[in-house]
């Protein structure tokens, strides 16, 4: 991938052993890695080095990572991937609501982290200008409003198309239930999660071969959904 060549990544974590293995692995994959151990250092570094992606731990010694995230979002759109031992869904949702682009729970596999980094970088580079999106055998042609699976056209209801379109916009990234409800139904429906469950179920019946083992429309337990991209495989 050419777009992440020499991309600058700021790793913010107070644990030196985590920084060490991230530095080693990320450098080996061609990224330029910078490090910060405190919230203060993280904000300063962000201004100085202007990273392409920030990897942020929530448990920092001087300030809570969520507060750092909120402050950062006041003046910057730099993608942030949160890395945390906090594994409760509420923590993930709080981080995503505070402006995180994605979330990974420690411990994690490097493959997962690379996929998240690539998804955020790609999203920054090309904010859905392409008229056609493809993942696996699923193809969405926005200009013609046409969805095909293995070259066979699939008829979607307006709601299903709207869900799919929103997920494609953030392909590879997690989209929370609330974000989807707001985008598809409107702000006043953001707690009507049963709407989403029913329509996602119907959408899966149309685009997945085995609805119990979805290939494209993935579930993020308790948090939301994620559309698989080819680079995630």
């Amino acid at each position: 991938m050419s777009l992440n060549e020499r991309a600058r990544i700021l790793v913010v974590d107070d644990e030196s052993q985590i920084r060490r293995f991230l530095r080693t692995s990320l450098t080996a994959h061609g990224f330029q890695v910078f490090e910060a151990a405190t919230a203060q250092a993280a904000l300063e570094q962000t201004i100085v080095i202007k990273p392409d992606v920030i990897i942020l731990d929530l448990g920092l010694p001087d300030r809570d990572g969520l507060a750092v995230l909120r402050e950062l979002r006041e003046w910057s759109k730099i993608p942030v991937i949160v890395l945390s031992v906090r594994e409760r869904e509420q923590d993930k949702i709080a981080a995503l609501d505070a402006g995180a682009d994605d979330y990974l729970t420690k411990p994690f596999g490097m493959g997962e982290l690379f996929a998240r980094i690539r998804a955020t970088l790609r999203h920054m580079a090309e904010p859905l200008d392409e008229p056609v999106f493809q993942t696996g055998e699923l193809k969405v042609d926005f200009a013609r409003r046409l969805v095909t699976l293995a070259q066979r056209e699939i008829k979607l209801t307006p709601t299903e198309y709207s869900i799919l379109k929103h997920l494609v916009t953030y392909a590879g990234k997690v989209v929370t239930h609330r974000q989807l409800l707001r985008a598809v139904w409107g702000v006043q429906y953001e707690n009507e999660s049963q709407y989403l469950r029913v329509h996602v179920g119907n959408l899966r019946r149309k685009i997945e071969n085995d609805t119990a083992r979805p290939k494209y429309l993935l579930t993020e337990p308790g948090v939301g959904y994620r559309l698989r991209t080819d680079e995630m495989n």
């Binding site: 594994e87 999660s193 119990a212 083992r213 993935l218 337990p221 308790g222």
Partner: protein, 498 residues
């Protein structure tokens, strides 16, 4: 007690006088028909009535009055005490003797009846109190039952002052107690002796205070204030009151001892949990750590070059063991939550099919065939997605561990009367019928199995399912293997419109 035993003496004498008067009236009616000695018999009736109804004094009084009246009205010469025929003196003597003996016997019978009735009432009152106390569950209920019973039996206002957590007597804030009463109560509490009304100490207090004492100490003070003015407490009533107080004190003691026993039981259970947890941590955490450390040191050892495939093997071992370690830590955390009651499901409308799919992604199925069947009428159910996924992961883990590598596993979800039932079925070694309950106990592992595990997975499942109001059980599969099933109640099935 009741008032009929306390007719004032003058009126009892008056009543016996009236009985003699009635006898006189009858005698006058038949004076011309009967001999005077027979008329004396009518007077005897009046004496018997007096003896049985009003006691010894009125009866003797009636006897004397009867003799005098008889002499004046029925013995010639009429109208005077004088007696012409001396044999009447014998009549008078015998009459008086008989009358006094009858008086004594009648009074004794009467007293015995009174004692029996009083005993009966006392035991009825005590029975009512002890029966009431048998069903109390907390000190509030003891308080209510005791107050009600005492008030009813003694026609009084009752005040129960109990021991506070600071081991001092607690005086309720909603009642205004006079200073003397307060002092009397405190004195009773400190010296474990009665004070106040009808005693010698603090006798100007309107309450009588009695200590609630048992062999193990003092539990409080009972204060009793009569509702009616100027009544006195008979020795019998006092005795009954003391029996009441003893029963109430024992009730408080029982409550306290039960609470202590429960506390000890809980403490012991949590102690046992901690010990098992510690031994589990030291054993189950060290095993994967040993594998990881061993693999890594082999990879790092430069004197012993490894073939690429051996290196790959070791690295896979590291990955597997680290994953296992992570799962174990997760299980221990979950178990601690279940154990401490901190498990609060974050419920939301969710799809069973979706949670099964998510569990399949995260389970280490390793290419095993897992067949999923979700009936089309299975509704959305309100549950915590992450917790139920954990249940499915643990059940799947169990099925994978205890069945042959080439045997199929199936997950089936269907609607039942109360909600949704999910079953995870394997064709493995099965669970003996007598173990089907115990497998859900924490740290329990089937005796014959050699598979690794902490014995926590199913206990966590049970905790999570029960926190959702559902049930979980294990049953043998027809043809060998196990069916692990759980239910999720769906009290109000939601219909969704476009």
């Amino acid at each position: 007690m009741t008032s009929r035993f306390h007719i004032q003496s003058p009126s009892r004498y008056l009543l016996s006088l009236m009985a003699v008067g009635a006898a006189t009236f009858c005698g006058l009616l038949v004076r011309d028909l009967l001999a005077p000695t027979n008329i004396a018999m009518i007077y005897l009736l009046a004496v018997v009535l007096s003896a049985t109804s009003w006691g010894l004094g009125p009866s003797v009084f009636a006897s004397v009055v009867a003799v005098l009246t008889f002499d004046i009205l029925f013995v010639p010469p009429y109208g005077t005490l004088a007696v012409h025929d001396p044999q009447y003196f014998l009549t008078f003597g015998i009459f008086l003797t008989v009358a006094v003996i009858i008086s004594q016997l009648g009074a004794r019978v009467r007293a015995q009846i009174a004692v029996v009735q009083q005993r009966e009432q006392q035991s009825a009152a005590l029975y009512a109190l002890t029966r009431g106390m048998a069903f109390v569950r907390d000190s509030k209920e003891i308080l209510d039952t005791a107050t009600q019973q005492v008030n009813q039996v003694f026609n009084s206002e009752t005040l129960l002052l109990l021991l506070g957590s600071d081991q001092k007597l607690r005086v309720p804030a909603d009642r205004r107690i006079a200073e003397t009463a307060r002092d009397a109560a405190l004195w009773t509490f400190e010296h474990k002796a009665a004070t106040g009304w009808s005693t010698r100490l603090f006798s100007n207090s309107e309450y009588l205070f009695l200590p609630l004492v048992t062999a193990h100490g003092i539990w409080g003070v009972l204060g009793l204030r009569p509702r009616a003015p100027r009544v006195i407490l008979t020795p019998d009533q006092r005795l009954l009151l003391e029996m009441f107080v003893a029963h109430i004190a024992i009730a408080f003691e029982h409550l306290e001892l039960n609470a202590q026993a429960e506390q000890a039981r809980l403490l012991e259970a949590s102690e046992r949990f901690r010990n098992t947890l510690l031994s589990s941590i030291s054993h189950d955490l060290r095993t994967p750590l040993a594998a990881i450390l061993g693999s890594v040191t082999s990879l790092l050892d430069k004197r012993m070059p490894l073939t690429p495939s051996a290196q790959q093997d070791l690295m896979l071992t590291i990955e597997e063991e680290a994953t296992r370690l992570n799962r174990l830590v997760g299980n221990l955390l979950n178990m601690t939550q279940v154990e401490s009651g901190a498990l609060k499901p974050a419920r939301d409308w969710n799809s069973i099919e979706e949670v099964i799919g998510s569990a399949l992604v995260h389970a280490r199925v390793n290419g095993r065939a897992v067949q999923v069947t979700v009936d089309s009428d299975v509704p959305l159910v309100s549950f915590d997605f992450v917790l139920i996924e954990q249940v499915l992961l643990n059940l799947l883990d169990n099925a994978l561990k205890f069945s042959p590598l080439d045997s199929p596993i199936s997950i089936r979800a269907r609607r039942n009367e109360t909600g949704v039932q999910v079953s995870v079925v394997d064709c493995g070694i099965g669970i003996p019928a007598n173990e089907s309950q115990r497998v859900f106990e924490k740290f329990y592992r089937l005796p014959q199995n050699g598979a690794p595990g902490s014995g926590l997975g199913l206990a966590i499942c049970k905790g999570i399912v029960e926190a959702h109001g559902g049930a979980i059980w294990a049953e043998p599969r027809a043809g060998g293997g196990t069916n692990l099933a759980f239910t999720l109640p769906a009290p109000e099935l939601k219909n969704v419109a476009e």
